[in-house]
């Protein structure tokens, strides 16, 4: 269901980043500030149209939506069409995984986090950016209905929820930056 929405509104999804340039750049800067050095084995899961992987220098992306994946490909990302819950990547093959505003759209977040843990090398890093359930962005959306079609299909988590999910999946949370309703967590595979 969510995947269909992203196919249908791909252009609109991508345009959001131009319309809300300052929010986008703030999110990007906060992720960049915690991101370990990117290498050839760094991957963004749910790369979308490549708005984060591109500027952050991440060359590989996993994306279920054909339409969004094509946009990321045109931005120079090596795109693999796939789902976070059934990743087509070998165990211990990635040094760094980035996951931005993806958790809320997953059918099975626990399963996806278990998959992310498997593809990471021991000591590998997971950086998660997410809209916090109790933050102003989500609350405004829930109150007004909002115009972002995608968010109406999202299931939001609080920072405590995300911390719990990460621990259960076998990650240690190293830093947790929670501001303006957007959480940025840095976690390590135990």
């Amino acid at each position: 269901m969510t995947e269909e929405i992203f196919e249908r509104y791909a252009e609109e999804y991508d345009a959001w980043y131009d319309v809300h340039r300052s929010v986008y750049h703030t999110e990007l800067a906060r992720i960049r500030s915690v991101l370990p050095p990117v290498d050839a084995r760094s991957v963004e899961v749910g790369v979308g149209s490549g708005r984060f992987a591109g500027p952050l220098g991440i060359r590989l992306g996993i994306e279920p939506s054909h339409a969004l994946g094509r946009m990321a490909y045109r931005r120079g990302i090596d795109v693999i069409r796939g789902r976070a819950e059934c990743l087509p990547l070998r165990d211990d093959s990635c040094s760094l995984v980035l996951l931005v505003t993806v958790l809320c759209f997953l059918d099975d977040p626990r399963r996806a986090l278990a998959e992310l843990r498997k593809i990471l090398v021991p000591g590998g890093t997971l950086v998660i950016g997410f809209l916090e359930r109790d933050g102003p962005v989500v609350q405004t959306h829930l109150r007004t209905g909002g115009k972002r079609h995608f968010l109406s299909h999202a299931r939001f988590f609080s920072s405590d929820d995300v911390r719990g999910l990460l621990r259960q999946a076998g990650f240690s949370v190293l830093t947790a930056d929670s501001r303006q309703g957007f959480g940025v967590f840095l976690a390590r595979k135990d």
């Binding site: 590989l60 054909h66 094509r70 490909y73 795109v79 693999i80 069409r81 796939g82 059934c86 093959s93």
Partner: protein, 66 residues
């Protein structure tokens, strides 16, 4: 898809090895070879995942656990 990316790919369902079949590739002196059309075959699942316009489609086709 960059040719070297194949090294880290596996079947999304059984996690087994994939055999690469190249139909069309782009070779460049300044950058890594790019596979544009072809397939990734999982012998165990009997599924070929297509590569079209440079993007391999590794969405799961089989299995209840995906």
């Amino acid at each position: 898809m960059k040719k070297s990316t194949v090294d880290i790919l596996c079947c999304p369902v059984c996690k087994g090895d994939l055999e690469l079949r190249i139909v069309k590739e782009l070779t460049r002196e300044s950058a890594e070879d790019e596979i544009l059309e072809g397939g990734l075959w999982c012998r165990k699942c009997g599924v070929e995942y297509p590569i079209r316009e440079g993007i391999p489609d590794l969405l799961p086709r089989t299995g209840d656990n995906c």
